[in-house]
Assembly symmetry: none
Homo-oligomer: 260 residues x 2
């Protein structure tokens, strides 16, 4: 019985693994810890299948069960994520090439990855001069408000958007924060046309950021670079110049990733 409208339509084989990933993604994305039955219902899985999977994932440390039976993410993935951050060429290449050149130019450069509808900071190179917001590794911000988030969202097919924000749009951080899906779509369209993204005071008033994506060998956007400056510095000429430089830097990083 080929029910094609299950979890991943574009799928292939190894359904057990794909379902385990879907389970972890669902738990990570949902705000409330689900129960076994609720999980099966939400993902369209037979109860018995979910039961077997959850049991195995629990043994493996991928899932943890609270006393009341609700499911949470387990600690096992910390090992892989730590390895990714440490060993992948992303952060080291960032440090070696990009950070140095921009730091000498007195700009703060950050790098993030997309995690659901939030960005996670995985590398930062702060300028010598003080900026009134401190980026820290591991920090999270809503993707629609950040330059890196917009760059990463713009690189994804438009139809993914609704799923990412099915549970509501994030609350605005400033009066300039994009507040609705239509506004976001318009900004993403502008980003695609321009080649880089702009955040003008949407996470902090007076803070102006430019963003561009870094792709892997397959062209998939895996991270994004951002350049932070104060709004008073952001003249049109300056923005255009810095935007081009940022796109060059991102393309350079992409090449390093592709070359291995």
């Amino acid at each position: 019985m080929g029910a094609h409208d299950r979890i991943s339509a574009g799928g292939g084989h190894v359904p057990a693994l794909r379902r385990a990933v879907a389970i972890l993604d669902y738990i990570s994305a949902s705000s409330e810890a689900p129960t076994l039955s609720g999980l099966a219902r939400a993902l369209g899985l037979p109860k018995s299948t979910a039961h077997g999977l959850v049991q195995a994932m629990e043994e493996l440390g991928l899932l943890a069960r609270a006393a009341d039976g609700t499911l949470r993410t387990g600690p096992h993935s910390l090992r892989w994520a730590g390895d990714f951050l440490a060993r992948t060429d992303l952060v080291s290449a960032f440090r070696q090439s990009i950070a140095e050149s921009w730091r000498s130019a007195q700009f703060t450069v950050t790098m993030t990855v997309l995690d659901g509808n939030e960005v996670v900071y995985i590398a930062c190179s702060e300028a010598n001069r003080p900026l009134d917001v401190a980026f820290r590794i591991g920090m999270r911000l809503p993707a629609p408000f950040t330059a890196t988030g917009k760059a990463l969202l713009a690189a994804r097919p438009d139809r993914d958007l609704d799923a990412l924000f099915a549970r509501g749009f994030p609350a605005p951080l400033t009066r300039y924060s994009v507040a609705s899906m239509p506004d976001l779509r318009r900004e993403l369209a502008e980003t695609r046309q321009r080649g880089f993204s702009i955040d003008d005071g949407q996470i902090r008033e007076g803070l102006f950021c430019l963003g561009a994506t870094v792709g892997d060998h397959a062209g998939q956007a895996v991270a994004a670079l951002a350049l932070s400056l104060t709004r008073s510095e952001a003249s049109p000429d300056m923005v255009a110049m810095l935007g081009r430089s940022l796109m060059d830097a991102a393309a350079d990083l992409s090449r390093r990733l592709g070359a291995g």
Copy 2:
């Protein structure tokens, strides 16, 4: 040469998932990025099985392939790890139980995870009195100099060490910082015998820290606690007493993780 060369056949079901986890663990633990065949050989998997799994894991973002075909961990697990850090009982349990009791005792307590050969601070409870170093979440320090880093390194098999420092030993932060692999191995041996680790001025002169690991249900060390005081307070009796208390606190946290 991972922790478990064989995938326990007598274990349970869902072999695809168990093997995927074994693959990610192997890649995370090994120093060099393996190839598909090498991976299959090391884990005792049929080549075709490994091929199908790796292909699916690549599509899912769990694995990434470099241009030369070698395999690395992918960015997908970042989502789960981030969720774990944000939502799981680790940080909240830390805040609820440990931090309060020690804070009333005027001590600074911190928690870190290992990330390559660095530790990343994931929780901090600073004492009311000023200490001359500020720990911030997301901050990184070289593992060999910190109490938590030594505790986490001591929990790993000794043969993993060379791989972690293949690219060189970190530059010393003070004149007391451990400066070579033999010195580090000696300190780790002392740590294993003592049950907790000690940093005596290796990240900052005059700062004295004790460390102990927190393990998950499988006994794997996933994080470490540290207690910070000034060197003048660190009398032998005081160190012994605080060390025992810290080990108790770490064991209590481990139980909370295991129990869910």
